[in-house]
């Protein structure tokens, strides 16, 4: 991987951020949707029995929204729109490298999503939740999740005809993301498979690294030392998905509309 030029990437990202802000719908998707689930923290008595479960659900939902909207859907629609406008092709005639062009497109949404993950910490603590048990692994979870969904956006863009079509073509990835959470009530035989989805792995990781919940628990049963081992399997699943997504994205990247 080549190194990125900071001035070039930031200069392009600034223009992309302007475009996100200028489109009201994009902005709502990118900012409001990830922050909204944090309101769930207000529901339910803080400190009472079982409120940890509700807290974890709110954090997981907020992170999932942050991965899906500012990162995945936003990058997908920006890529497709810029490609159709021939902006990507034009940029590739200049000094910016392919990696800089892609990074700059992902950066505004990435910053919003990262901000959501960071803001969630003080907000949750003020509203009576515990501080993250293993902040380092929580940070790793967030970053890998966001990279994974950015790569999925690149891959999805390759077979998305235009910005309208993205409403449909985004469905497989969105389903893959929410399946883990939807499947909580499913029988164990089914859950064995749904646990292997990126959404389920991310959910497990947040529950382990922030709340110290072992599988299925809603009370803290893990201590700091336990979190490393408990995070192993879901982290492996998440990284495997990220590698797959990057592989698919690299194979399928298209820079101009099909003529």
């Amino acid at each position: 991987m080549t190194t990125l030029s900071l001035p070039r990437t930031v200069g392009l990202a600034r223009a992309n951020a302007t475009l996100v802000v200028r489109n009201r719908l994009t902005l709502v998707y990118a900012v409001v949707l990830p922050l909204l689930p944090l309101l769930l923290l207000l529901v339910g008595d803080s400190g009472s029995e079982g409120s940890g479960g509700a807290g974890a659900a709110a954090i997981v939902t907020a992170l999932m929204m942050a991965a899906l909207f500012p990162v995945f859907y936003n990058l997908l629609s920006q890529l497709v729109t810029r490609r159709d406008e021939l902006v990507l092709k034009r940029l590739r005639t200049g000094e910016a490298t392919d990696a800089e062009i892609i990074t700059s497109l992902a950066l505004p949404g990435f910053v919003i999503a990262l901000g959501t993950a960071i803001v969630a910490v003080p907000v949750a603590m003020v509203l009576g939740q515990d501080a993250p048990l293993n902040p380092l692994l929580y940070a790793v979870t967030v970053v890998v999740t966001l990279l994974l969904f950015a790569a999925f956006a690149l891959w999805t863009a390759a077979w998305t005809k235009n910005a309208e079509a993205a409403q449909i073509t985004s469905m497989p990835v969105i389903l893959l993301a929410v399946l883990g959470q939807v499947a909580i009530g499913f029988p164990d035989e089914v859950r064995r498979f749904t646990d292997l989805t990126p959404g389920a792995a991310m959910t497990d990781l947040v529950r382990v690294t922030w709340f110290g919940f072992d599988t299925g628990d809603v009370e803290r049963t893990l201590d700091f030392a336990d979190t490393w081992a408990a995070a192993g399997q879901p982290l492996l699943v998440l990284v495997a998905w990220a590698l797959l997504a990057v592989y698919l994205a690299r194979r399928s990247m298209r820079w101009e509309p099909r003529s």
């Binding site: 070039r8 223009a15 021939l86 034009r90 005639t93 200049g94 000094e95 490298t97």
Partner: protein, 324 residues
């Protein structure tokens, strides 16, 4: 500018081929072309739509690898030495591509941010007469303004080599003239320019050398004058020989090769314009004939181009024969 091009051509294309698709659906858009652009010169790739001009130019721009053959820009490989080549090259694509919701100023600022040494944005705006459009969104620009914004980006890094794909297509005559002036100034500064066009006057006005492309090949190449040299010059005047009894038969004039009459006017084709014209004028003076609407000219690029386009079919058949 601190870097200097190595001695030798700015652009060198050798036996370039470019195919699309594979197997039975493969289509060879560029079928082995050679092209050289020396520093400080303008070369025009002239051809009809579908001749392969853009396909060839995209390889020079480094946007696509050649299927076969070799391309050197400033002595470098536009794909492998991308960073170095891009820093010193300005590209204008056939269709402009900018985000519709950015303003002119924001677009230029974005473009400047990608460059190692950009000119001041204000200068670029003034150069292309866009200063009063700086806060206008790209979606509200006219076609001519959009093209000028695109050119401003192309020239923002003071490139040594400029590649322009149909720079004036769709522009009004005034904008077109402005672009021509700009290209002339670039050449004056020692830049080399490779442009594609299907506008004959553009090639004739701007280019030091013209390469006429047809069906993926360069069929003729030379200065506009050289290209015309092999074709007959024309003398035209109103009235048919029958209507001008004082005049001898034009076909009998020295160096005249063909005489046609159309819409009541006569056209004499000549292999030596001066000889034929002198004889015609002497005969007219002697016979007391006034030649209305007299027009005499060397072969133009247009006549060369039309000759190639009309010879296209027999040429294609010859190619198919060779392929079998």
């Amino acid at each position: 500018m601190t870097t200097h091009a190595p001695p030798g051509p700015h652009i060198e294309v050798r036996d370039l081929r470019r195919s699309y698709g594979s197997g039975t659906t493969a289509f060879e858009a560029v079928r082995g072309i050679d092209l050289v652009v020396e520093p400080g010169t303008v070369v025009a790739l002239l051809g009809t739509n579908g001749a392969g001009k853009t396909s060839a130019l995209e390889v020079v721009e480094g946007l696509a690898p050649p299927t076969a053959g070799e391309v050197r820009v400033l002595g470098l490989d536009p794909v492998a030495d991308r960073a170095e080549v891009r820093r010193r090259t300005g590209v204008l694509l056939q269709t402009s591509g900018f985000p519709a919701d950015l303003t002119v100023g924001e677009t230029l600022a974005m473009w400047a941010a990608t460059m190692t040494v950009p000119r001041p944005v204000a200068d670029a705006l003034a150069d292309l007469d866009l200063a009063d459009r700086v806060d206008v969104r790209v979606r509200s620009l006219s076609g001519g303004e959009l093209r000028r914004l695109d050119l401003a980006c192309t020239l923002l890094g003071e490139p040594e080599v400029v590649l322009l794909d149909e720079p004036t297509t769709g522009l009004d005559p005034e904008s077109r003239r402005r672009v021509w002036d700009l290209v002339a100034r670039l050449r004056g500064r020692g830049c080399s320019v490779l442009l594609t066009t299907h506008h004959l006057e553009e090639a004739e006005t701007l280019a030091d050398r013209v390469a006429i492309m047809h069906a993926g090949r360069i069929v003729r190449e030379g200065t506009p004058a050289e290209l015309g040299a092999d074709l007959p010059a024309t003398i035209r005047f109103e009235g048919t020989p029958a209507e001008l009894p004082g005049l001898p038969d034009p076909a009998a004039l020295p160096a005249a090769v063909r005489v046609t009459t159309e819409h009541g006017s006569t056209t004499v084709e000549s292999t030596d314009l001066q000889v034929t014209l002198t004889a015609l004028l002497a005969a007219a003076a002697e016979g007391g004939v006034r030649l209305e609407g007299l027009d005499a000219r060397s072969a133009t690029l247009e006549s060369v181009f039309l000759a190639i386009a009309s010879g296209a079919h027999s040429d294609d058949r010859a190619l198919e024969g060779a392929d079998r």
